[in-house]
């Protein structure tokens, strides 16, 4: 059996920031991640981040990843890669498989779940064919593995992921035939849509994919216009040239470990569905178990990093590394930065939803 004071599950932006803050406070930290490399999905984010200086705005995501790993190294944070957590309980025992072989038991004093999210699928005839993939999958292939999964891409979904990945596919040398959006208006930031629009990519709003053309793989895509109730309109079908279809239809939090740990959940559809209840210190209903990042509701890497810091600070504080006063002060600073990211038209919905969660958390947890 191994012992650690703060165990963080997931070495993405939230997990790494949690680890850094907890270690800075003086806690002995262990980070577990199922992948062979740390960083989660940060290293495929090759665009410059938004926000302000305190949010590392203007720095490309993968460079932020490099900075976080350096910081973690300086702080001597233990990171176990290729380690899949299969069970945790309320007593904060963790069972994991290391390197696909060794079963390990870790007794933790505090746990921070930073497991991230998975892309949603969209089903239409032919969606299982080779050539249809998540937008994030295409992004992983081009920016991490440096291989081009296709030459002509149709993107389904115009949220930030859809438009950013479209842009990055063009940077990698592919052409984007179209971005198809079921809603009558585009979802992503205007600066992102404008960037791909001036590169010549057409947007089809109030449209969806009706089927894939091709028996063994994607050979073309048939799209169709939708009415106000999102029903296909007869006679509006159109065939677009494509060898690849990317799906950017949102993400769902990876909450399995929170369920297993016995955390109570609350349903907030705007944030991705059933989410572990947590308070403003990121603590769940399972005492000593914290959450941070997309598991608490789908947002962005920049908010995930802030939430990670919150969880790290508060997990460490609960072990006595900070006084009540210090904990409140440090948390308030992070909350100011979070609030800055969650304002304006795009942030407001998330902010309101988050506030609902925090108020539920306050009632249930304190």
């Amino acid at each position: 059996m191994h012992k650690a004071s703060v165990v963080i599950i997931g070495a993405g932006p939230a997990g790494l920031c949690a680890a850094i803050e907890a270690a800075k406070a003086g806690a002995k930290v262990l980070v577990l991640d199922e992948n062979l490399k740390p960083g989660g999905q940060l290293f495929k984010q090759i665009h410059k981040f938004f926000g302000s200086k305190e949010h590392k705005a203007g720095t490309r995501g993968y460079e932020i990843g490099v900075e976080l790993l350096k910081e973690a190294e300086v702080l001597n944070i233990d990171v176990w890669l290729n380690t899949e957590v299969c069970g945790i309980d309320k007593e904060k025992n963790i069972w994991a498989v290391r390197n696909g072989k060794d079963a390990v038991h870790i007794a933790a004093e505090r746990i921070i779940l930073a497991t991230g999210a998975i892309e949603n699928a969209v089903a239409f005839p032919g969606w299982t064919l080779p050539g249809v993939m998540g937008a994030g999958a295409a992004q992983t292939m081009i920016n991490i593995h440096r291989v081009l999964p296709g030459k002509r891409v149709v993107m389904l979904g115009s949220g930030n992921v859809g438009v950013i990945v479209s842009y990055q596919l063009m940077q990698a040398g592919a052409d984007v035939s179209a971005i198809v959006e079921a809603s009558p208006t585009l979802g992503g930031y205007g600066v992102h849509t404008a960037k791909v629009r001036r590169a010549g990519v057409p947007f089809y709003t109030s449209h969806s994919i009706s089927k894939v053309i091709g028996k063994e793989k994607v050979e073309a895509v048939e799209i169709v216009a939708l009415d106000q109730q999102w029903r296909p309109i007869n006679g509006t079908k159109k065939v677009l040239e494509a060898d690849t279809i990317c799906l950017a239809a949102g993400l769902s939090p990876l909450t399995e470990l929170a369920w297993i740990a016995g955390c109570q959940f609350h349903y907030i559809p705007e944030l991705g569905g059933h989410l572990p209840i947590h308070n403003r210190y990121m603590e769940t209903t399972a005492a000593g178990i914290y959450v941070a990042g997309d598991i608490t509701g789908i947002e962005e890497a920049s908010t995930a990093m802030e939430e990670g810091m919150l969880a790290g600070i508060n997990a460490a504080a609960s072990l006595g590394f900070y006084s009540q006063k210090e904990k409140e002060q440090l948390s308030a600073i992070v909350w100011d930065r979070l609030d800055a990211l969650r304002c304006g038209y795009f942030g407001q919905k998330r902010k309101t939803a988050k506030e609902r969660m925090i108020s539920v958390g306050k009632k249930v947890i304190g």
Partner: protein, 108 residues
Amino acid sequence: MGRIAEHPILGEMKSSKEIEIIVDGKPYSALEGEMIAAALIANGIQTFRYTKHKGPRGIYCGIGRCTDCIMIVNGVPNVRTCITPVQDGMRIETQHGTGVWKRGDDHA
């Protein structure tokens, strides 16, 4: 399909040792350390397996969650090729159906 040798943001691809993998009996080149799925895509291979209903499948999530890209690797079925690195001489086979584990198989 193919490798992205040069990139406007990420620059030139880091050079890695070239190794050989065997896909369905034929030799292909791959780069040391890369994932099987990446090596196959670089070689223009898109179809990784067929379901028991003979439906072709390729990569889908690319990060080890969905299991769409599983293949038989060194005789072991259901290996997630998007998160399993290549090794020199590795035998990779298109998987048909659900795959059968043999006693003593070591999950790659």
